[in-house]
């Protein structure tokens, strides 16, 4: 497949940009594969890419019920950071962040990773204590995170309102300078193209309808809307639909699926230099390179597969945005949408083996999976290739809900990350 370079750009410019090839192949499904990944989002595509690239397993298919980048990968607010409280979480998100730093070069695809800084606001003594605890914990784990006063926060992000008149005035902030954003579609497309290049078959419009098992219980293949596909190993990376897919293998999951929504404004000139999040008033905001403000709201209270959120949830977030950034009070919102996120009780993901031989699962990323995409794919690929958990993934096993070894990020963040 054509390598993207300055020379390729010039060559294609001369022919009016009409001769660019397809980014990935669209083959017919083969009768069987070594590994089939269920779910063509960022995590699934990254898994397939690292299986082929790092572990030499190229007889791989990714089956996707819709189109590449049409699920949560294309619906999130693209925030990347690794300043999690617990050691296990810090390890996996930092693993991902390190991969983000070299990803565009590795994939030969500009994923527009932009470490513009992620600032988390404190509004009370309690917030300050929690965020400072994060700063100290991160520092012990070798992860950058620093404490800013309100005035320093305003210097870093000039539109921020640090007036004391606010219902929840800003009292300080924690800043991870290496955090930032990336272009979500490009991540999916870049992984799809690179995986396809290495021989992975990407099968779109291919919904899994059943999981086939041998007499001893091991998986042997999948029933799909494009026919039967044999598989020695199956990796389920289906986000909000994970419970449904795993039920086909007779497994109940410790997951619940909620709609999480986001919205974007009309595009404006560059005005917002970083990412700002506030857990207390529940708002997070950044500006895309197109100029739109990208705003994340909360989940609905109840489980749903409707891919839209309630208006009162978005309204609540916009109230907070208008308080924190009065400059945006007259901005018009263009679009809002929802994605279905699968949430675990401890708000940490599930990565690893299942009681069904040959069936692996990578799920439960809840409201904060985008930032983990490269790391999640990498450790999950290692887990599938070796048949045992990657050391970074091991604490996130499915059986922690049996042993009680939970990784409690719910209390640590208590908010959509």
């Amino acid at each position: 497949m054509e390598r993207y370079s300055f020379l390729a750009l010039v060559r294609n410019a001369l022919s009016g940009h009409e001769k660019w090839g397809e980014q990935w192949r669209s083959p017919e499904p083969k009768a069987a594969y070594d590994v089939v990944i269920v779910g063509g989002g960022g995590h699934g595509l990254a898994t397939a890419y690292y299986l082929a690239r790092e572990f030499g397993i190229t007889d791989v298919a990714v089956v996707e019920k819709g189109w590449i980048g049409g699920g949560n990968t294309g619906r999130n607010t693209t925030i990347i950071r690794s300043n999690y409280l617990q050691d296990e979480s810090a390890a996996i998100y930092e693993h991902a962040l390190k991969l983000w730093e070299g990803l565009s070069a590795e994939l030969n695809y500009n994923v527009m990773y932009s470490p513009r800084g992620v600032m988390m606001l404190a509004h009370s003594v309690h917030d300050e204590q929690v965020l400072k605890r994060h700063v100290h914990s991160n520092r012990l784990n070798g992860i950058d995170n620093e404490w800013l006063s309100a005035a320093e926060a305003k210097r870093f992000c000039p539109p921020l309102n640090i007036s004391l008149d606010l219902r929840y005035p800003v009292t300080g902030a924690a800043l991870q300078r290496r955090g930032g954003t990336a272009r979500h579609d490009a991540v999916a497309w870049g992984y799809a193209r690179a995986a396809s290049n290495l021989g992975v078959d990407i099968l779109e419009n291919c919904e899994v309808t059943g999981i086939e098992r041998a007499r001893d219980g091991a998986v042997t293949g999948l029933e799909t809307t494009r026919g039967r596909i044999g598989a020695r190993k199956i990796g389920v990376v289906a986000a909000g639909s994970t419970s449904l897919v795993m039920a086909m293998a007779g497994l109940r999951m410790p997951l619940e699926s909620y709609p999480l929504q986001a919205l974007v404004s009309e595009p404006v000139k560059p005005v917002f230099p970083c990412v700002v999040m506030s857990n207390t008033v529940h708002a997070y905001i950044s500006q895309s390179d197109k100029g739109e403000l990208v705003i994340g709201a909360g989940t609905d209270a109840y489980i749903s597969y409707s891919q839209r959120g309630s208006l009162h949830i978005a309204t609540h977030t916009l109230d907070a945005i208008c308080d924190l950034f009065p400059i945006f009070r007259r901005m018009k919102m263009l679009r809002n949408w929802g994605g279905i996120v699968d949430v675990t009780a401890d708000r940490s993901p599930i990565i690893g083996l299942t009681p069904v031989p040959g069936l692996y699962v990578n799920a439960g990323w809840g409201t904060g999976g985008f930032k983990a995409t490269p790391g999640s794919g990498h450790v999950f690929a290692a887990t599938i290739a070796r048949g045992e958990p990657h050391p970074v993934a091991a604490p996130f096993s499915l059986d922690r809900f049996l042993t009680g070894q939970l990784i409690d990020e719910a209390a640590a963040a208590a908010v959509a990350h």
Partner: protein, 102 residues
């Protein structure tokens, strides 16, 4: 926002309520008898269906009482609500309620 018919107070906007998770998850009388597997099922495993879901709500800013609700998680349409302690509605009752909306 959902319009939720509280079986005690009638239809009220969603913000008056608090969601209470999956319904009919039975608390055992003697928790000490449970083994790890049963604890996992009770605490963490959920049906999480795409379609008919039995769930609890609490009318926290109204009568403050818990009640049960049958909702379709694809359309978010509320099909039935019933008081705590009343039996789980059968398929016929749910289907009849669906027909009302056709």
């Amino acid at each position: 926002m959902l319009l939720i018919p509280c079986p005690h107070c009638g239809p009220r906007p969603e913000i008056e309520f608090r969601y209470g998770g999956e319904a009919h998850v039975v608390r055992v009388p003697r928790p000490a008898d449970l083994d790890d597997e049963a604890w996992r099922a009770f605490l963490y495993l959920r049906t999480n269906p795409k379609g008919i879901h039995f769930e609890r709500w609490r009318h926290i800013h109204g009568c403050a009482r818990f009640f049960n609700c049958v909702r379709d998680t694809v359309s978010d349409r509320i099909l039935l609500t019933y008081k705590t302690g009343e039996p789980k509605p059968g398929e016929a009752a749910i289907a009849a309620s669906r027909d009302r909306y056709r």
